[in-house]
């Protein structure tokens, strides 16, 4: 017999899917459960059933819940050695393409997008690159578009940028005002921010590089394989797939369809 909380959690996730088409059914359970429990206190609900009633009848409440269910924990040039490896191992190969399309899947509030755009500009590739930055959370996408980050965080990002092989002063890319760093709009001239779900949507373009970092850890194996399938379909022949530092293709059904270019940094290439 299942515990009440397990039943209620499953019903909530099903209700969200039926009503709002956001599909958390194949997300890893432990993390979702913690976030729903956190939401209970935020919404002052004593049971998950009460929370379900609230979000089912009130789209605004659902949008608030969505903010708690998705995890916008990111930073610019996170894992500097990863970006250094992209610069050294991937960029020389990207330079052989006349035009480049990059998909940043699960871009959250945009830290990865700005990091990638800065790197591409320094390598002289940004002008001939189109970046698709996708996420399921419209508020995160809005924030990503604005490109405004707190100065407090930018200090840490500056250190990351330098360790990632940055060629200039990081301050060249933003204007500081009132404790915030407003990033150079021209970095996003060729960026398309779009709503896209790895759980329910399909491929929308052929791409040369896909970056999906620290997104797949929230998925179960089945959903991970769905995502890998989309990436495989979207990538051109010999296209690049880059993952988060604890994510791997090793246990995936698609493991043999990619080869590791820099295994330590989770940089793969379609074989």
């Amino acid at each position: 017999m299942e515990r009440n909380s397990e039943i209620e959690l499953r019903l909530l996730i099903e209700a969200i899917y039926l009503k709002y088409s956001y599909d958390f059914r194949d997300y890893s359970g432990a993390s979702i459960k913690r976030r729903v429990n956190h939401a209970l206190s935020q919404f002052e609900c004593s049971t998950i059933s009460a929370l379900q009633e609230k979000v089912l009848h009130d789209p605004t409440a659902f949008m608030q819940l969505l903010q708690l269910l998705t995890i916008p924990v990111s930073e610019m040039f996170r894992d500097p050695s990863h970006f250094l490896a992209i610069r050294k191992e991937v960029v020389p190969l990207l330079k052989t393409y006349p035009s480049i399309k990059i998909w940043i899947a699960g871009c959250s509030t945009g830290e990865e997008v700005y990091s990638t755009a800065i790197l591409l500009r320094e390598e002289g590739l940004l002008d001939r690159t189109i970046i698709y930055a996708t996420d399921i959370n419209p508020r995160s996408l809005e924030k990503a578009k604005q490109g405004i980050f707190s100065m407090e965080n930018v200090r840490a990002y500056t250190q990351n940028y330098q360790q990632a092989g940055g060629q200039r002063s990081f301050a060249d890319y933003y204007t500081a005002a009132y404790g915030y760093a407003i990033f150079d709009k021209s970095l996003c001239e060729n960026v398309t921010f779009a709503d896209h779900s790895l759980a329910t949507d399909s491929v929308f373009s052929e791409t040369q590089l896909i970056s999906c970092r620290n997104v797949l850890i929230y998925f179960n194996k089945k959903l991970q394989d769905r995502a890998f399938g989309l990436f495989h379909e979207s990538l051109c022949h010999r296209g690049f797939l880059v993952l988060g530092s604890k994510e791997t293709l090793d246990f995936s059904a698609f493991g043999n369809q990619f080869e590791a270019l820099v295994k330590q940094e989770r940089i793969y290439r379609k074989s």
Binding site: S28, G29, A30, S31, K33, R34, R35, I71, V73, D79, S81, N214, I217, Y218, N220, K221, Q224, S245, K246, E247, T248, F251
Partner: protein, 197 residues
């Protein structure tokens, strides 16, 4: 020390430790025999360096195989797992590991609370949880959760702990099944394994 007859049959052991934890853990784990059958999953707070040497350090001193827990892999019997730096570690219902980047808990990622709470959910009464020395309050809530799910809870005697804050915080929140010095904890783990065999 309780007699073996009163100990439950567990299927996994989780351990949380912070400041002073490496030495405490080595003292608990190095006496364990080769072929020890239970999985042991450890969160030990360390600075968030990119790569941790914990698995290597313990592999030289412990008879059982030692691994850093990898996302989506199943918890295997007889293996000592460490949570890697920078990510929270959870155990899922199907007894596989999952990693996440939720905000830090008590300034820590990995957090002991997250491992304990998720393992309590996954194993219910078939779990033993051990909280050791440390200078913060992580693990207290998780340990109470283990108890609530019927699991066995063990806290290092604060008088003996290198830093008493963490075990004391746990004692302030709930009464564990055992309060023991390191040697007693090691013996209890040996007994738990004998019962499980």
């Amino acid at each position: 020390m309780n007699s073996a007859a009163r100990l439950p049959t567990v299927e996994a052991i989780v351990i949380g430790a912070s400041a002073g934890g490496v030495e405490a853990l080595l003292n608990i784990l190095s006496p364990l025999r080769e072929g020890f059958v239970l999985p042991i999953i450890v969160v030990l707070h360390l600075p968030e360096a990119r790569r941790s040497q914990l698995a290597e350090v313990f592999a030289r001193r412990v008879a059982m195989p030692v691994l850093e827990a990898i996302d989506k892999t199943l918890v295997e019997a007889g293996t000592l797992y460490f949570a890697g730096p920078g990510y929270h570690l959870s155990v899922e219902q199907d007894r596989s590991f999952s990693l996440s980047l939720e905000p830090r808990v008590h300034h820590s990622r990995p957090a002991i609370d997250f491992l304990f709470e998720s393992a309590a959910d996954a194993y219910g009464p078939a779990l033993a949880a051990v909280l050791l020395t440390g200078a913060n309050h992580d693990g207290a809530r998780g340990l109470a959760q283990v108890k609530q799910h019927g699991g066995l809870t063990i806290v290092q005697d604060p008088d003996e702990a290198q830093i008493a804050t963490m075990p004391q915080a746990a004692l302030d929140l709930h009464q564990p099944d055992h309060i023991l010095p390191i040697r007693g904890i090691s013996r209890l783990i040996v007994e738990l394994e004998q019962i499980a065999c």
